[in-house]
Assembly symmetry: C2
Homo-oligomer: 194 residues x 2
Amino acid sequence: MLREPRKKKTKELIVRTAIQLFKEKGYENVTVEEITQLCGIAKGTFFNYFPKKEHMLLYVGSSYNDLLNEIVRKHREGPLKDRLMELFHDFLRLYLKHAELLRLVLIESIQSTSGSTDDTSNLTLFQQSIRQLLEEAKDNGSLRSRHDASDCAIVLVSLFYQTLLSASADADEHKLTADLQKKFDVIWDGIADA
Amino acid sequence: MLREPRKKKTKELIVRTAIQLFKEKGYENVTVEEITQLCGIAKGTFFNYFPKKEHMLLYVGSSYNDLLNEIVRKHREGPLKDRLMELFHDFLRLYLKHAELLRLVLIESIQSTSGSTDDTSNLTLFQQSIRQLLEEAKDNGSLRSRHDASDCAIVLVSLFYQTLLSASADADEHKLTADLQKKFDVIWDGIADA
DNA sequence: AAAAAAAAATGACCGTGGTCATAAATGACT
DNA sequence: AGTCATTTATGACCACGGTCATTTTTTTTT
């Protein structure tokens, strides 16, 4: 059967073409027809592969998955909190490279995740790898916490996303890192002093 | 000048009609034309009052502002953390009454807030009232914290929103309250034990 | 009260996302 | 190779959000 590989090829072609156009001209300024024309296919074909234009954004997101995992794997030295901060700092830098597009991706991911327990969403994947990191830290003693690793991961990741989303257009890397640092300080120590 | 009051009337009429239709049939299933027809005005008129259909969602959001402030004012007894939890619990109940619509409102609010420092957005307003509550608590001694009230407010509010957004369609009030409780425990005590 | 100016309403019109009946392509079977 | 079944591609078509030149209404000026 030669059909499957060919479908995949077409799908990849659409994704690659679309991402490039989105980065060039901005998501809103790219029409589905434009994408398909550049791919040499008919407009209708696009919708055989993606139910909505917005679904492309989820694919843009998942195209970053490998890169994200690599970053998570990279940070293995030093105190846990510092490691996490460096890790998020790297993510932040990556995000800022295409902030306009990735903001849409993030919002779309949030939108598609909510209302359904879908474990394969980009957001959940990311959360899981942070959770895993925390669990390892708990196991090897570098983190002592009465809280569930899973809950901590949710908290950390939401605050990270919140930082990205609240980033105003003029915000630079350093401002955002500082923002994130403050939030992390709060949750790391807790709000109320003992 | 009699123009201003009349404009306001029309705007209110549109908002009321739209909200009702949204709640009846769901945002996506209501067309602008339908709204205007029910208002007895032309389609084009709608866009004299709202630049986009989605802007209606922000107005839906702001229509809850008074109610929200009232809830904040209501909880004045007991330990701070409990008060906050009750407060958020009330919000949550309110949210669940029209979860479908309010999820869209929330997402739209997030979307419109991000990228611009707009202090009048619904989200910012809410955050500010929580911040104020925390500051009062710090002043009268019921909260002792080394962290900025503002930062704490951001953290609390983001986690609340995250809870709302991650609510799957089948989630009930109790499940969500429990979810929220766990997150609040984490940030209240801090992730790492002393 | 008439004329001029300003503001607001209108609906024909357009672009784009998305549908769907039909056509083309592919693979299985004889 | 020829027939049939199934999958995939196609583009005319539609619905809806949004625009804009024109008309209608309201306010100001004389």
